[in-house]
Symmetry: C2
Subunit: 213 residues, 2 copies
Amino acid sequence: MRIAELSRTSGVPPATIKYYLREGLLRPGVRTHHNQVDYGEEHVNRLRLIRALVDIGGLSISAAAELLTVLDTGSLSAREALGEAMYALGGRRSPVGAEQQEAAETDVDALLTRRGWQIGDESPARHTLTDVCAALRQLGHADVLGVIDDYAAAAEAVAAVDIGLVRDEPTVERMTETAIVGTILGDTMLSALRRLAQEHVSGMLLSGDERKG
Amino acid sequence: MRIAELSRTSGVPPATIKYYLREGLLRPGVRTHHNQVDYGEEHVNRLRLIRALVDIGGLSISAAAELLTVLDTGSLSAREALGEAMYALGGRRSPVGAEQQEAAETDVDALLTRRGWQIGDESPARHTLTDVCAALRQLGHADVLGVIDDYAAAAEAVAAVDIGLVRDEPTVERMTETAIVGTILGDTMLSALRRLAQEHVSGMLLSGDERKG
């Protein structure tokens, strides 16, 4: 199909398709002997994956591009693929005061020790978690840190399910795609489920004491 | 303090502070008799809260503004405050084909029934969850939907902790702030914990079968 039909089928405007081609998120089409460029079903599928990561997962184009590069490498071991997909996302850095930063590093080290989690020093998620802890301390919400073990236990339950999904896939390429889709769209799913569960739990618990303070 | 000192103390550039003032995220300073504008500690704290929601929580300025409006209302009941804070975030919409949309609505209805969650029809999280389910179906990853009950159980455990934190706060204003900070920064914390737990679990499970497919 030509770019106009690719646009109709995928719902992505031609200018956006050309942008993804330039940025390497989408592989080039095949040039036919009529000097036209032909796109196939794999381009439709890739466009859907890009839009899902960006629109549903909330990723930036550059973060999506990094993950798709991992996916396209295709020759990684299962464990490498998982690790690369997770590490490619990196983390937002938001420096706070040195004092909070140091206390937050201690918070995270202590948590990892309590749970027995073996984590690389360069893990972006470790840096992100440290930043969140530092921000909570700076905002005067260190009370949230008091329940971090409960959150970590829930995260471990989720991760065991995640890894099970990935392990069940038949090929490394499919494992990598499931790791990416399951983690990114899964984050959005889990945050929606958390809000629904909050609505349910608060409806049950708070109906008796509406006015407080 | 004047705006230059407010900028130094908070680390937020003066142009950004003026933007927040125009957009109503930050209350105006007090005009002194020297015709200067004076800012106080509450402006420093508010700027830190805005930056945490945006930099750590990944919110847009407009989403942060909506949550802060809820916070500033200050006269809500505990349950209303929680609900408003959650609903104000809304959800990204990403329309997919009608067929996937219908199947996804059935997925979500069935899940809510199985868990006995009472959720309003207008819940933004319900729409977000439906969009995620539709995208997973369209991408050929309906296998993730097979474990949604496990994710929902983890989300319910998290929500019970969330609501406990909020209930322990002494005033409605503080309850609302904890609901906002705990939910938004908590999302980032939970996604970081999930990645750390994935690294830990995959390290344990996959070390024996590196090459697959």
